[in-house]
Structures are given as C-alpha cells and as structure tokens.
C-alpha cells in the first residue's frame, strides 16, 4: 500500500543518506583499519537502503535507482540526523552511535512486523546494525578515555548531533495507519535513549542537555546539507537520462 511504501521510504532514505556519507570516508579515515570498518558499515547500510527502497518502489513500479537518483529533495523522507555532516571522525562516530542505536531497536521490533517484507529486511539487517553499534561504542570509549583533546571533541560532537535526536521519535499521521506494520517512533525513545545512556555511562560522558530541533525530514523539509549531498550523488545519473549502468 502507499502507506507501507511511505514508511519504507523513511527507512530507506535514512540508510541511503547515511551510506552516502560513510562512503566518503574510504581513503580518508584515521587509519587503514577504519577505511575498512567504515567502508563495511557503509556497505551494510547501503544494502539496507536498497532493500527498503526496492520494496517502497513496488508500490508504484519505481526501481531503487528511480528513487535514489530521480527524486528531488522535498520527496526524500530521511530524518535530519542522517543528514548531519561527516565533520571530523568524532562527529561521524557520534552520528553513528545514535543512528545505530536507533536502527538496532527499530529493526529488532520491525522484525516482528505484520508486513513480511519489512520483517524480512529488518531480520536480515539487525545483526549488522548490532555490529555497527559495537563499533561506535568502542570508539566512544576510546575517544572519551583517550586524550584530553579527544574527550573534548567527542563531547562536543555528541552535543552537536543531539538536537537531531528528538525527531527520530516523532510520530507522524501515516504511523497511525500502519498499526502492527510500522514501529511507532515514540515507542523507541525509551529503549534507544536507554541504550545510549548506558554507553555514555561506560565512557563517563553525560547525556547532552540541549534543545531539540524541529527538523522535519519525514515531511520533506530538510536541513541545508541534503541539497548538496543529493547534487553530488545524483549528478552523473541525471546527466544521462534513461541510461543503464
């Protein structure tokens, strides 16, 4: 149904934009092991994006590439968190911590969805996301417990990304029409924040206390970053309409 497709777009766009950003790191990471690790995470996330987008496209016969390359910015449905810039490594890790904690709880619950396709994608993805969260956690511990500089930086990275956390837990009207199929975002607030809290506790970091952003990604109102990201991502495909690759 269009509602299920709309929901699959949320998850697909979140993952697509995150994968696009992670891909940038390959050849630029702090050490080769991280070129490999961030590349792996990016690949996993891109795989999730493709599954969700393919499924979303079945509603009206669009392919994953139609959806990724031929929609304009207002048609995207990703939350602002995933649009947060790569920044430095700490910024990327802070974003990844929240993203992975969110996706982990979301996919775990979605694995029990009444929609078998969504359930299947979620079931397949949940193990990978658990690894991503572990990767982010290890780095949170290292950066928080490393040098004075690294601790300062990761604290600030967390504070900077924090205004975008609240949007992840906001219900939109479409969710009401997907009882038993979608995971109600507001029900994820507690488990996701609980998980993050435990990690921050282990790193002896405080949960940032900052005002949330209104954001608006689920309604197609995006942060400044997305336009640039899409311009780059779509430029080649759009220069050759109708071509296959």
């Amino acid at each position: 149904t269009p509602d299920v497709a709309a929901y699959a777009l949320w998850l697909g766009d979140d993952a697509l934009v995150l994968a696009q950003q992670l891909g940038w790191w390959i050849s630029r990471a702090p050490e080769l092991e991280e070129d490999v690790a961030l590349g792996n995470i990016g690949l996993d996330v891109l795989g999730h994006a493709r599954s969700f987008l393919r499924y979303a496209g079945t509603a009206d016969g669009r392919s994953e590439d139609d959806l990724a390359y031929w929609r304009d910015e207002p048609a995207f449905r990703c939350a602002w968190l995933f649009q947060a810039p790569n920044g430095h490594f700490g910024d990327t890790i802070a974003r990844q911590l929240v993203a992975s904690a969110f996706q982990l709880e979301l996919y775990r619950r979605l694995a029990g969805s009444a929609d078998p396709a969504l359930a299947a994608i979620a079931t397949k993805s949940v193990k990978e996301v658990a690894y991503h969260l572990d990767h982010a956690t290890q780095w949170i511990l290292r950066l928080a417990g490393g040098t004075e500089l690294s601790r300062e930086r990761i604290e600030r990275s967390l504070t900077d990304v924090w205004p975008l956390v609240d949007e992840l837990f906001r219900d939109e009207p479409v969710i009401d029409r997907l009882e038993g199929i979608a995971v109600r975002p507001s029900t994820l607030r507690e488990p996701v924040l609980g998980r993050i809290q435990a990690i921050l506790d282990a790193a002896d970091l405080a949960m940032p206390q900052v005002a949330p952003s209104m954001a608006g990604g689920r309604r197609g109102m995006h942060s400044s970053r997305l336009g640039y990201l899409l311009a780059e991502m779509q430029v080649l495909a759009r220069a050759h309409p109708g071509a296959s690759w």
């Binding site: 390959i26 702090p30 490999v36 490393g146 050759h240 296959s244």
Partner: protein, 311 residues
C-alpha cells in the same frame, strides 16, 4: 656461510623463505622495497576510484565500488603486515610515503575524470596488476607469496567488474560508448607501462629473477597481457588505441607500436598530473586522523595498566 648455503638451497629448490630464516641483506632490502611499494600502491590506488564513490550512477555500482576500494585498503593492510615481518614498521613506511620518499605505482597519478575510468582501471590497470602479480604468488618469500594469493583472487574479481562496467557503457547510449572508448584511450598505454621498462633497460630484474621474486621478464608479461586484451576488446566493442597492433604468425606474438616512454618518465619523476594531489590527500587523512590514533593509543595504554593492576 652455512646460513647462506641453506638459503641458496631453499631458493634452488623453489622453496619458501620464512621470516625467521636467515636471508641476505640485499634480498631483505629488495623485498622491503618491493612489498612496501606494492602496499603504497594499494593505498594511493584507492584515491582515483574513491573519487567516484559518492557519484556512482546506480546503487549497485556504488556498492561494488565501495567494496572494491575497501578491498584495496585491505590489500594494503596485508602487504604492510608482510613487510613488517621483514623488520620495518607501518608508521615508518607511512612516513616515507607522505614525505614523498617512497615509490608507488605511477599509474595512480592520472586523474579519473569520468565514470568510465572505473571500468578502464578495473579492466586495464587491475588486469596489468594481475598479470604482474600472479607469478608473485609463488614468490620465494612466504608472507609475500601468501598475501599475493589472497590479493590476486580479489583482483581478478575486480577486473571482471571493470570489464562489466565498460561493457555496459559500450552497449549503452552513444555518450556512454564515447565515454568508454575515451577511457580506454587514456588508460591503455599507461597500463602497458605498468610492466616496467623493456627488458634491455631493466637492471634489477636479473637478480630478482635469480631470487625467485620475479618469474617473468617485463616484456614477456606485457606481451601476455596484450594477448589477453585483444579478444576482450572485441567483445567490448572498443578499440585499443594502437594502429599497429596485429598478430604476427612468425614471431607468435603481437606486433605493437613502440611505447613512448617520455610521459612515463615524467610521471615517475613526480611530474604527472596528480602526483602532488595524491600525496596531499594521504597526508591530509593522516594528519586529520592523528588525534584519533593518539586517543586510541592512550586508551589502550590505560586499559593495559588497569588490567595489570586488576591482575
């Protein structure tokens, strides 16, 4: 002397030298140079392709390209490890690279202005690399040979993907076909130069062959590579940019135009289009990441102390 004799016996029997075995200083030095150069090539070689990750024209291609560039980081890791068994540290090699004191394959100093370059690099550059590297799987130094086995397997996968990219482009729109031909035109000669100077101008080859590090001469490998390309180019529907390329029944080999080595030497001397850019990119990543590596070390040290105290 006994050690030298033992070493010679292993080499003569085409056996494997292992890290704990005695080896001549020159053998060690040659290997360190070759392996680290090879490792650097993998690392620098990530850049021309990473350039298209964010702009790959389909999600499938993006995924394949990300996996490929990431594989190259992995190859770099194996090779640095192999070099480390010879007593040189990764940091030292990295410093040499960034300071511009280490060599890497010149081919990566060319830019990748179009998507078709992803195909041409896979087909031609990885193809030439494989032709060079397959014999290295039997290199006399154990860790190097074993790393090469793993790398060659992945490389031949990459080459097939490059071929597929070109095939899709060649059979696609007119603009795509032109893009593919243009990329092949640009990468063909540089890929042939990857085999190194003609045999009569390759002074180090003889010793390397005696040590079973090198197995075939530069010209032999180049000839073999061209022999592989010709039928594949036909399948692709693309032209190799050498009007004199033709099978010669008499010599049992391909005739080809003489290679113009001027540009090769320019690039080798640091005057290629992207030499400076490649090193700047690597330096930037290395310096931007310094605080992260320092944090990781500091954290590991603290953890070790904590565990000791706890024990």
């Amino acid at each position: 002397q006994a050690a030298q004799a033992q070493f010679d016996r292993i080499i003569d029997a085409d056996g494997r030298i292992e890290p704990r075995d005695w080896m001549p200083a020159a053998y060690r030095k040659t290997l360190v140079r070759q392996i680290s150069q090879h490792a650097h090539s993998e690392i620098i070689g990530m850049q021309p392709e990473a350039n298209w990750i964010t702009r790959a024209p389909s999600l499938k291609r993006k995924s394949i390209l990300m996996a490929k560039v990431q594989d190259e980081a992995g190859h770099g890791l194996y090779l640095y490890s192999a070099a480390q068994t010879l007593g040189i540290g990764r940091e030292e090699m990295t410093d040499q690279l960034i300071a511009g004191r280490a060599r890497y394959s010149s081919i990566f100093n060319y830019p990748t202005p179009t998507w078709a370059d992803m195909g041409a690099i896979g087909w031609l550059v990885d193809g030439a690399a494989i032709a060079n590297q397959v014999p290295l799987c039997r290199a006399s130094y154990g860790p190097y040979g074993r790393a090469m086995v793993r790398i060659c397997k992945e490389e031949s996968f990459h080459q097939r993907q490059g071929f597929e990219i070109l095939l899709e482009l060649s059979q696609g729109t007119e603009a795509q076909h032109r893009m593919a031909q243009d990329a092949v035109d640009r990468w063909y000669w540089p890929s042939l130069m990857m085999f190194g100077p003609p045999d009569d101008e390759s002074p180090n080859s003889a010793q390397s062959m005696a040590w079973n590090i090198k197995r075939f001469s530069n010209d032999e490998l180049r000839q073999r590579f061209v022999g592989m390309l010709v039928p594949q180019a036909e399948v692709l529907g693309l032209t190799l940019p050498d009007p004199n390329l033709a099978w010669n029944d008499e010599t049992g080999a391909y005739d080809m135009s003489e290679i113009d080595w001027t540009e090769f030497h320019e690039v080798l001397a640091g005057r290629g289009p992207c030499n400076a850019q490649r090193l700047q990119h690597r330096r930037q990543a290395h310096e931007d990441g310094a605080w992260v590596r320092e944090a990781a070390h500091a954290y590991a040290a603290t953890q070790a102390t904590t565990e000791q105290v706890a024990a």
